[in-house]
């Protein structure tokens, strides 16, 4: 019984991580796609290439795994320390490098540089969103704690 519960918790643990990666991949794919679409529109092109979008999806999934399993999930970190900044810059550079290699922005250096700053901003925004989410959660948790303790006093 205990072993089954433990196995279930391991499965749940794995699933939680996978959902986290899935969420990250979707979030970053959407952000990158937005930049890509704006670039295409500015160039007067009204179509997005399926190949580029497929590359984006695979890359964001790949980066999601790297972030969660190798880079301490830095965008969900408690504080932005030196380690988090290094990981953030590293991932930003990887995204920019692949965007150049896959020719998402026609290997235009100026646009690639703009994309680099965009990805960095994207990570900073994600960090702030996760932090705000935890702040709200903390408020709810403490309200629940207070209610629990008050219930105990009345019993």
């Amino acid at each position: 019984m205990h072993k089954t519960k433990q196995k279930l918790s391991l499965w749940e643990h794995y699933l939680t991580k996978e959902i986290g990666i899935e969420f990250k991949a979707c979030l970053y794919f959407f952000c990158i796609l937005f930049f890509y679409c704006v670039y295409k529109l500015v160039c007067g092109i009204h179509e997005a290439e399926i190949l580029h979008m497929t590359e984006m999806i695979f890359l964001t999934y790949f980066m999601g795994y790297i972030q969660v399993y190798l880079l301490s999930n830095f965008d969900e970190a408690e504080h932005l320390g030196r380690k988090e900044w290094i990981f953030m810059l590293l991932c930003t550079l990887v995204y920019t490098l692949f965007s150049y290699l896959f020719s998402w922005f026609d290997r235009n250096l100026a646009v690639s540089l703009g994309f680099l700053f965009y990805v960095l901003t994207m990570y900073l925004c994600a960090f702030m969103v996760y932090k705000s989410k935890r702040k709200i959660d903390e408020k709810l948790l403490n309200a629940d704690l207070k209610a629990f303790q008050e219930r105990g006093q009345h019993e």
């Binding site: 918790s9 643990h13 939680t16 999930n73 969900e76 970190a77 408690e78 996760y130 935890r134 702040k135 959660d137 903390e138 948790l141 403490n142 629940d144 704690l145 209610a147 629990f148 303790q149 219930r151 105990g152």
Partner: protein, 149 residues
């Protein structure tokens, strides 16, 4: 009220209370006995201390030994964490990790940490980490669910 005290050489200690009708004296004794039964044996060095569960901040198991932490003392206990979980079938106590049981009433504040973990600041200033595995049950407990079975 008449009472008889008899020392026995073998068998289990037993206390029999006979009464015709519940009266304040009997009620007082019953209340004392009930409170005494809830207390846990703990040791400060070799001195036995009957510990009131509500005085416990948390219980920790270290290298197979169990310790109860109160505001000013660390007391050794002869129970395993599993046994304590059974004895403290009170929703105020929560198994917050493999090696720890937490008294929720002694938590001062909570902090939400990355990866769905929770940091519990105790009223003596110590911090206890509630791991992701136990965090969701802890949330349920706070909301009034997930009691001990």
């Amino acid at each position: 009220m008449k009472y008889t005290i008899k020392q026995i050489l073998s068998g289990e200690d037993e206390l029999i209370l006979k009464y015709k009708k519940l009266n304040p004296d009997v009620e007082h004794i019953l209340q004392f006995l009930n409170n005494e039964q809830e207390k846990l044996n703990s040791y400060d060095d070799k001195t036995l201390i009957r510990l009131e569960p509500s005085d416990i901040l948390y219980i920790e198991s270290v290298d197979g030994k169990t310790f109860a932490y109160t505001m000013d003392k660390v007391l050794r206990m002869d129970y395993t964490l599993y046994r304590l979980e059974q004895l403290l079938k009170d929703i105020r106590f929560f198994r917050c990790s493999k090696s720890m049981i937490l008294n929720i009433d002694k938590v001062k504040s909570l902090k939400s940490l990355p990866s769905n973990r929770i940091d519990a600041a105790m009223c003596n200033g110590e911090h206890i980490l509630i791991s992701r595995t136990y965090a969701s049950d802890f949330r349920k407990r706070l909301k009034g669910g997930a009691h001990y079975a």
